[in-house]
Amino acid sequence: MTAALAQLVLGAVTAALSLQLPLGALRLPGSGFFPLALGVLLMLLSAGQLARLVLARRAAPAAPAQAPAPDGAARRVLLFMAVVAVTTTLLQAIGYAASGFLLMLGLLGVLGVRWGVAALIAALSAAGAHVLFVLWLKIPMPAGPLGF
């Protein structure tokens, strides 16, 4: 239900924004013509899907739509994403090696690896990634205050 609603909104927003672009004529469509058609099509499909879900829910109100997520799944995913988000924010300030270390350390911790082991694996992975990507493949990853 949430997915269909979100796509209904996306279709409506696309159609509304397309109307602010030149629509042109049928023989010479403008920039807004194609996205407007797509927005309307997405709204129609989403409305159809919503109607189907409402009818199905009325027919069998107790039936769950999907298998339930494991306990604590949302918390683990949010923690995982938070670690990646924080280290991405820090990437240009502290450099690739340090943010790689923090990324590995944080993610290993979130996944239940003991901190001592996690620190060792994180240090080895960050050093390995620096050697592979920066020194060998010459990818210009951001350098930190210490030059790596």
């Binding site: 949430t2 997915a3 269909a4 796509q7 996306l10 279709g11 696309t14 924004l17 672009l21 030149p22 004529a25 049928l26 023989r27 010479l28 469509p29 403008g30 920039s31 807004g32 194609f34 996205p35 797509l38 927005g39 099509l41 997405l42 499909l45 989403s46 899907q49 189907r52 999907q66 997520a69 494991p70 306990d71 604590g72 799944a73 949302a74 683990r76 995913v77 995982f80 994403m81 990646v84 988000a85 991405t88 990437l91 790689g100 990324l103 590995m104 993610l107 290993l108 979130v110 996944l111 239940g112 690896v113 694996i121 992975s125 960050a126 990634a129 990507f133 990818i139 210009p140 990853m141």
Partner: protein, 508 residues
């Protein structure tokens, strides 16, 4: 025919240079690893490695990326057989009998037959590609904008029909992908669309961010959501001397491999996730023609040989529509199209005529790559399988580190990483809501092409939409699309049609 063989020999001369051989080998090894490691399928794997090809010329880059693609298809069977976890979706069917064989202590012959079947099928399918690609390219030259638009619509509808889930949901994903494809410069007038005043979005949504996000990060998050205890994997790796199949195994597998090759080759020529459909079709056929159908599901070697052959034949023949018409029919060829465009190569009917050295070198590299993969997957399979001993709780952060690095290196932009994270979260949610990511990716990649073809068509016809139905090829393709749209509806109505007592009639 003779001309094709001559050009193919020229292709071998290019592909056999030390540099291209090294890239072919690197692609095959990395692809095998991508196929073996759960959580990193061929789509995210190829997308992740596109930046690594930036320094290469287009031929070497495509040789390496193609190597990763079919390497992943070979490698995917290893995890299916050893731990009942498919490395990529096309290996799902191999789990059924492959894992049963492993449980009976016959993992070695299952792995060997999978590798042999893949090699034979891949080699025959490449020969088919050599035979039919050049004449098909000549025929495709007659395709104008209406035919191309109709072909893309047909591809979307068929892909949506065969992704396995709901048709409406898949079509919604196609449209979301097409909408994302409209962000940035208008391909016809150059106007900026939906950029909200930011220069970052002018070039459009970075398809690599979508591919790595939805397919790579999405899968990582699905695994990260599991309790840590569920991330442990136990694997028994067979030793080299245990790999040999018996004469009886070979006898039983030969027919299955040849049938799987035929099924796979032709499935690769139609829109959809060809390797996945091909494996299911092959398994069904093998079960039907077998003298011992009761053995299927309990370790029948035909259940490994047929689908693995079909998988690899479809993988090779899926290159035909990409090279010849310039339209990818599935998500992996769509990623390869994006990579080709980055390298300044526009695939289509003129590719073979204008860049014969690239086309024939890639085809020749496929032969070489298949041979390399046979070598990698027979004696070295125990070595690769040892990768499975790395606990997932270590593997997932490592893959995440690679994703962040790979994503940054595309444009040296942190914004791309944020974009990837956003699409990763979307990929995770889509899995929970039972929406497929492949139609979204295909919509994103083909969106600008569809818009240009559509607008050119109506400009040619001065606004007359009849141009799509007055031309025989586009009319046929649109008619086939309508039929494909109506087919599930008719099936549903037949199933729900009540009998005299008012009970729904169950059919088939």
């Amino acid at each position: 025919m003779l001309e094709s063989l001559e050009l193919l020999l020229g292709g071998f001369a290019t592909a056999l240079t030390l540099q291209n051989l090294a890239y072919c080998l690197a692609g095959a090894i990395v692809g095998t690893l991508v196929g073996i490691l759960p959580g990193l399928g061929p789509i995210a794997g190829i997308a992740l490695l596109i930046p690594a090809t930036f320094g290469l010329n287009a031929t070497s880059a495509l040789i390496m990326l193609a190597g990763i693609y079919y390497g992943a298809m070979y490698g995917g069977s290893t995890t299916s057989i050893l731990i009942n976890v498919p490395g990529e979706t096309a290996s799902v069917i191999t789990c059924i009998d492959g894992y049963q064989m492993a449980q009976q202590g016959r993992a070695g012959p299952a792995l060997a037959i999978a590798a042999l079947g893949s090699f034979i099928a891949g080699t025959i399918a490449i020969f088919g590609l050599v035979l039919i690609a050049p004449p098909l390219a000549d025929a495709a030259l007659a395709f104008g904008p209406p035919e191309l638009a109709a072909l893309m619509v047909f591809a979307f509808v068929v892909l949506s029909n065969v992704t396995g889930g709901s048709l409406v949901k898949a079509l919604m994903m196609v449209v979301v992908g097409l909408i994302l494809g409209t962000i940035g410069f208008d391909p016809v007038t150059g106007d900026a669309r939906f950029t909200f005043g930011t220069a970052y979005l002018l070039g459009g949504i970075e398809f690599v961010a979508v591919a790595i996000g939805v397919f790579g990060l999405g899968e990582i998050l699905v695994n990260a959501a599991k309790p840590p205890a569920q991330l442990e994997t136990r694997v028994k790796v067979p030793r080299f001397r245990e790999l040999y199949p018996s004469l009886q195994d070979l006898k039983r597998a030969t027919g299955a491999i040849l049938r799987g090759t035929g099924i796979g080759f032709f499935t690769g020529l139609i829109p959809g996730p060809a390797p996945v459909i091909a494996t299911y079709a092959s398994y069904t056929v093998e079960k039907k023609v077998s003298r011992h159908p009761e053995e299927f599901g309990h370790g029948a070697i035909e259940g490994v040989a047929g689908p693995e052959a079909a998988n690899n034949a479809a993988t090779q023949s899926a290159f035909i529509p990409l090279f010849v018409i310039g339209i990818p029919f599935g998500p992996v060829p769509a990623i390869l199209l994006g990579a080709l465009l980055i390298h300044g190569v526009t695939p289509g009917p003129l590719l073979i005529a204008e860049k014969p050295e690239l086309f024939w070198a890639v085809v020749a590299s496929m032969y070489i790559g298949n041979f390399i993969l046979l070598l990698l997957n027979l004696p070295f399979v125990p070595l690769f399988a040892n990768m499975l001993r790395v606990p997932k709780k270590v593997l997932l952060p490592l893959v995440m580190l690679f994703c962040v690095t790979g994503m940054f290196s595309v444009n040296n932009s942190v914004l791309d990483i944020w974009m990837m994270l956003g699409f990763g979260l979307l990929g995770y949610l889509l899995r929970g809501w039972a929406y497929e990511g492949a139609p979204l990716l295909l919509g994103l990649v083909l969106g600008p092409k569809l818009e240009v073809a559509f607008r050119q068509s109506v400009m040619i016809s001065h606004g007359d939409f009849g141009i799509f139905v007055n031309r025989p090829v586009s009319a046929t393709l649109l008619l086939a699309s309508v039929a494909a749209l109506l087919f599930p509806l008719v099936k549903l109505m037949r199933r729900k049609k009540p009998d005299a007592a008012g009970q729904p009639v169950q059919r088939g």
